[in-house]
Symmetry: C2
Subunit: 473 residues, 2 copies
């Protein structure tokens, strides 16, 4: 583990790895590409899960659990799917002390094994819509792993639905994308762009892939969640048919959608600074930390007694941590909790108690102020709201500053060099232009945003008439 | 899926499989030995998880997540462990499109990979105790799978702890066993015997394995949870050492403990009857179901309106399901919800509304009575308490009736034939006697209960002096 946090401005990628490890969110394991999620990181994931699970259930989905091992013959049924995923799979060839007759793939995603079962569960239009979700681990072999962002094993939820009509399935795709957008913005304080992926970037087996994209502090875009309209591709491959209201046998229309532990990486890279993490209060495992300040042993009981009262007053309304460890100085603790991104810090010593006050510090602005002891709980709740909003506003402002409108290729290239971020430009829709730009600048189309202008300029690459306004990054 | 529920008295095993599938708890998948946990079964598991997770956290443990893939060299480090688990493992030999240099085992349990990391996390006595837990899927290759009871893949929690002293580790082993006992009795309404396993039945790599054992309605004992005192076995294999308070380098003392989706199997087999499941209210996904009764269309609005009021009154205090499906008759619905084990049923029709009453039926006793509409919520809450207690008492009575004291081998054999259940008998402690009894009668020592008499009769098998009183089943 690195001893120092690397400066964000010097080496963003090094900064990221050092912060994730130093803040004890996660660590590399002895298995290449697989991470260990440590207690602080897992508590963050549990907070994400709890709220996301509620949103998924409120939109009518039920949780299930499907096997992690997928027979090879299932993987091979949907042509685009097997092409996309086979090279990333881990394959079990031996089990129970003997070679297997048929290799089993560790799921990279579960469309295949779920659809093999849906073909039995779904008989009639009365069985639709089928709205299921699972929280699971998946494996996609990763050559250049990065904690949370790209790991061979990761945790996620994957929703799988089946509908009577294309219209309903398309509505579901959009509904879940909007659940992701709302979650990212409200809970993670990450402003995101919503849009559709180009054919080149879509999920293997989907008709359309929709995404939420956030802009990280290095000016790169991160895909934070995807919702796929699958059409009838998997239904046809797995024979998911139903008797329609008109008595005809029809293939179901399907969707799938997922978010993963990658969201934690997005959090770190959207809000963090040279001191470490900055966690949005709504999702922070610790919302406020109290550091007792005393020099003499006889002041200890007084200060800890006051802190016990504060803890009782706060109850379950604030996730409070009291750092009463004796082997560390207050200054050391301040750094530690700044590194861990705790939104609010409270300092309290004998003189504060005498004066009926405490010191309250905000992680996002660094502001430090005396707060009357009497109104402390409300002041902390207000500060948590302010940090939540402050982080969102700061990230939105950053994104606005880092979004460049490029009418031509030179402007685009200059922006990519000088103010890396989103480049908003016209595109003719031709995959060749997309590929040329990627080869030349490494920039890819991150999304074709839903928000489109009435008319388009010429394609930024080939100058032919533009068909879409797209975001490059 | 079987169409009919097989009678419990005719074929217990067939009854079990048919109930689990017909009640839509789980189903077999296309992967041999792996199950699909359906929404109703998964909701049950979520209720189990939520309460167990709270108990695990309240005893000071933090959740983490370790990789599912374990390098072969780790599996081989602890001799007993590899002997016990290797034959049950699934092995990944190919990944990312190429053969792996070192095979990776899908975890059957995580002592090895966790200890490889603890050797880095633990340096000093100040790092102890280390108290971690994870919720995860594991794979143990299963030749004769049974839904929830023995499946190749199952879900569980596994706690792993490290301590300064043997005493602390032994205390932790007992603390977690008692958490399991309390959970089984308070939440699942399953009375359990607590005790230690014979050497022959203990966990591969443990010094001692402690267990909770419940008696199922077929007179067989089911291990519902285990807590292992690992001594320093894994610490020595993985070099988990720490600087002691006295400045010496010492090996940590360890425990591990787990409960799994098998608890759902235990629930089914402890409480179920020929009509299907009987779920304890504290853990039931649906605590009360309301079935509207009306014949004419113009009564529908009246009845459903009254049910809407009931739902509003109940709020979050009762997990209520309103079954307003129109394609099924009330009688069909009664059977369905009895099959699904819902503790309380409410029936309400136009005449009930007129008379200010409803019909309330208890799943466990079958009792059906008119209840005044005004006091309905309290009546339902009281009934739920009564069912919870009733199920526990019924299971305890069954266990008492099915526990036979056997002073000699003939009595034991007769009891195994005539009233299968627990046989309480003296044992000399010799593994040969244990093996002989198993060969002769198929009965195994399920536990050496904590509760021991002052003196022992002769060993039930060899008549040498007894050393323990044990429970056979």
């Amino acid at each position: 583990m690195p001893d120092e946090i690397i400066k964000q401005s010097v080496d963003f990628s090094g900064w990221y790895q050092s912060v994730v490890q130093r803040a004890e969110l996660a660590d590399y394991s002895d298995v290449k590409g697989c991470m260990i999620i440590r207690p602080y990181g897992y508590a963050l994931w549990e907070n994400i899960q709890r709220d996301m699970d509620r949103r998924i259930k409120e939109t009518g989905h039920e949780n299930v659990y499907f096997p992690m091992l997928i027979p090879e013959r299932f993987m091979k049924r949907e042509e685009q799917h097997v092409e996309g995923f086979s090279p990333e799979c881990a394959v079990v060839t031996h089990a129970g002390g003997a070679p297997l007759e048929e290799p089993l793939y560790v799921r990279p995603t579960s469309e295949t094994i779920i659809n093999a079962t849906l073909s039995k569960w779904i008989q009639s239009w009365r069985d639709l819509p089928m709205l299921i979700n699972q929280w699971a681990n998946v494996i996609r072999w990763e050559m250049r792993p990065r904690l949370f962002l790209r790991t061979t094993e990761f945790l996620w939820q994957e929703g799988h639905t089946a509908h009577e009509t294309e219209k309903e399935a398309r509505e579901e795709t959009m509904r879940m994308l909007d659940v992701y957008r709302a979650f990212a913005e409200e809970m993670l304080a990450i402003p995101v762009v919503t849009g559709v992926k180009s054919d080149n970037e879509k999920f293997a087996g989907a008709v359309n892939t929709y995404c939420i994209e956030g802009l990280m502090r290095d000016g790169k875009s991160l895909q934070a969640g995807t919702s796929h309209f699958l059409g009838q591709n998997f239904a046809k491959a797995f024979n998911v048919q139903f008797q329609s209201r008109e008595g005809r046998l029809e293939y179901a229309w399907q969707t799938s959608w997922g978010v993963s532990t990658r969201l934690i990486g997005a959090l770190v890279m959207t809000h963090g600074d040279d001191k470490g993490l900055m966690l949005p209060p709504k999702i922070a495992p610790v919302q406020a930390v109290v550091v007792p300040i005393y020099r003499k042993e006889d002041q200890k009981a007084l200060v800890l007694g006051e802190i016990a009262k504060i803890r009782a007053e706060f109850g379950a309304d604030v996730r409070l941590k009291v750092d009463d460890r004796e082997q560390y100085s207050p200054g050391w603790k301040f750094n530690e909790w700044e590194l861990k991104g705790v939104p609010v810090r409270i300092e309290i010593g004998p003189r504060d108690i005498e004066k009926g006050q405490v010191v309250m510090a905000r992680r996002d602005t660094g502001e430090k102020a005396f707060v009357p002891r009497a109104g402390l709980k409300q002041a902390v709740l207000d500060a948590l709201d302010a940090v939540q909003k402050g982080l969102y506003d700061r990230a939105l402002k950053f994104r606005q500053e880092r979004t460049t409108d490029a009418a031509d290729y030179d402007t685009m290239k200059r922006a990519l060099d000088e103010t890396p971020g989103f480049i908003r430009a016209s595109w003719c829709g031709d995959a060749a232009c997309e590929a040329n730009i990627k080869t030349d600048t490494k920039a890819t189309i991150r999304a074709i945003p839903f928000d489109q202008p009435a008319t388009f300029g010429p394609c930024v690459a080939c100058s032919k008439p533009g068909k879409h306004q797209v975001l490059f990054a």
